[in-house]
Symmetry: C2
Subunit: 406 residues, 2 copies
């Protein structure tokens, strides 16, 4: 039978992620900077084996049974304690919901907040999968340019005023303040304060996506989380176990006012009833025993070393006219070619001839504004691959730039 | 800040499940027939401990890492083999997607197929959480009455014709043919054939939700799955590990044409990227080692024994004018009071005075048509609780019926 005539309108808004499509091209001999995976050597695997056995032995009945939609209470409590070290997690009118990775948190927030035609504001570029999650709910996405210190506040204000003057409803500002995906930029303390002031002035919700905040590896001191400075309950904080423990557990969480959490729970109930009970008990026990905290310095060290390697390779091999960021957190370096370049076109040469892959930048821009950037992941490839991959990438760029020379 | 003014329109369609709300009332001394949980003694816990250790030891790197949106290939292959024993799983143009329980499958199907105002057809009554999952996408839900053999085909046809004559678009027919939730009714073989003929005649998709098909405990032979008789690719088959292994793993799956699976994958990508890799590897290994198959006769025995106990207690204690189903599969008995009764009102007496709980029937009807039924779960309560609970329920019913006597 013909399924196409039965598809919903929104289904036509679903697009295969360029990252995921790209993975299909990548064979064994291609060095890939394309993914966003942590180094598997950072997983505390022996401790996970031990903890999992203990959880199943001592509370298997509960760990294998249905659970509450909001999450396993033990995990929620441990998370409050854990967030506390990041300066948050202690507000009495706040609560936590456990989600299937932070991706589900993005979907639930879109589901609960966005009506077709509503405005949402993001950094530009921003996290591709956040754009995809929100887009299904048919908002107008307005991207605000960034510089080395993060979102540019004057530009943000200008856009808010424009939208308001046009009668538009703004549902939230979505930002990744620390080690932003894809740029690797960490928003400065000054900008963070200014962002909250603007949010307060215009009475706006802020979603703070913080996957990398617990593994900040910069030498300077880490700026406060927005949530730690939020005295008005307008910041919805979200993070994930994917970078501090392991992505395969598919565990994320949201910390916000009880009212917001209650709506997210109600939404989640019809999406998947609840997140895996077993995995939640494992995570609670990893936190309780201090496994995650003890492992964090090790992860930071792995990330810092690999970032340094990639920066070194870039300064060794990259030609004039190519620039890149120097991240203090996160998993990515953002590399920019001259304005007339198109990294989507370069990709074919890079993969097919030079056997190196990355993610072209355009799809990280909510409205596809720029095409001359690329995202490079430094956490997954092996050290020798980082060096060799950057060398190959430079050769591919040279060939491509020669080809398109005006 | 005021969150209410920022909520999306669809958020107002989200309602707390009566089942979940009910659980909050139920204290230690209340015997609850309200949940839908399997007997924890049916979990193959020692084998799960062993398998989990082996999975983490031999492929921890993969089991803890990100995975493909469609699912872990090993699990998909094992599932094809497993479904084979149910007469399906071998079609070359078909594929499997692994979901977060079957609840996520329901949400993804709604997301991909339903536009506001579309018609969908269900049995009436039907699974409460399916209604909730679909309702978010704003369909018109048409419920078709059932008798002891399942959905009444003449009524189904009449409604299809009515909708079509009114210019309505029907997106699918959703049925739970075996051990239906909430009624416990298993659709007869004749009705199954007739249902497929109707679907073919009117060119309609059929969603076959089959959580209980692998643990059929009737004495008569089990009718074929709809999918096993589907020569036109119009049946979307879905099932879950929640009843054959453990709900805490949150694993379900859909088996359908590759085209449908591809759309579901695209939808799932923005919902949660993928289902827990760890849990998928555990399930694959439980299947590969035959743990699940060896455990199934034991689950059937537990369910059959408890069903018999509840039926015995019902015939011992229940007054005239009360009727109930005698299920060959599933987890529920459907009990009906005289037409003028309202089991939502009875519930307060039952819980507060007689310390026994159930789920009132009205919310299982897509349009709330009837209020005099209730759903009783027999798989979770202990044997002595089943007897004592039915006794209490009968007392509560007597008191309530006396009260409302005309």
């Amino acid at each position: 039978m013909d399924i196409n005539k039965l598809l919903a309108g929104r289904t036509k808004l679903m697009r295969a992620s360029e990252i995921r499509e790209l993975l299909k091209w990548v064979t064994e001999d291609v060095i890939s900077f394309g993914g966003g995976m942590p180094d598997p050597s950072s997983f505390p695997i022996n401790e996970i084996i031990e903890v999992t056995r203990d959880v199943l032995t001592t509370k298997g009945d509960k760990a294998l049974q249905y659970g509450a939609t909001g999450g396993v209470p033990e995990l929620k409590e441990e998370l409050m304690r854990f967030m506390n070290k990041g300066g948050i997690g202690t507000l009495g009118d706040h609560d936590v919901i456990i989600t299937v990775g932070s991706q589900e948190a993005l979907d639930l927030l879109g589901r609960v907040l966005i009506d077709p035609g509503d405005y949402i504001i993001t950094e530009s570029p921003t996290y591709l999968a956040a754009i995809q999650a929100f887009r299904i709910y048919e908002p107008r996405i307005v991207g605000v340019p960034m510089d080395g210190e993060g979102i540019i506040i004057e530009e943000l204000e200008r856009r808010i005023r424009e939208i308001r003057e046009g009668g538009g409803r703004i549902k939230f500002i979505y930002v990744i303040p620390t080690g932003q995906n894809p740029t690797g930029i960490t928003m400065s303390m000054e900008r963070r304060k200014a962002l909250l002031e603007v949010a307060s002035e215009y009475d706006l919700l802020v979603i703070e996506d913080d996957p990398y905040g617990y593994i900040y590896f910069g030498n300077d001191s880490q700026p406060s989380r927005l949530k730690a400075m939020d005295s008005e309950g307008r910041v919805i904080y979200m993070s994930t176990f994917s970078k501090i423990a392991a992505p395969g557990l598919r565990l994320g969480w949201v910390y916000a006012t009880k009212e917001i959490i209650r709506w997210l729970e109600l939404a989640k109930q019809s999406v998947d009833l609840h997140t895996s009970t077993l995995n939640q008990y494992i995570a609670a026990e990893l936190l309780r025993r201090g496994v995650i905290e003890r492992n964090i310095p090790r992860i930071k060290e792995i990330y810092r070393t690999k970032r340094d390697l990639m920066l070194q390779a870039l300064s060794e091999y990259m030609q004039d006219g190519v620039t890149w960021t120097k991240p203090s957190a996160g998993m990515f370096i953002w590399l920019s070619l001259p304005d007339h370049a198109d990294t989507s076109k370069l990709l074919e040469i890079a993969i097919k001839k030079y056997r190196v892959a990355y993610v072209p930048g355009r799809s990280f821009y909510p409205n596809g504004e720029r095409g001359n950037d690329m995202r490079l992941n430094f956490t997954y490839p092996k050290p020798q691959e980082i060096f060799e991959g950057v060398r190959r990438l430079s050769l591919a760029i040279s060939e491509y730039l020669r080809e398109i020379k005006p």
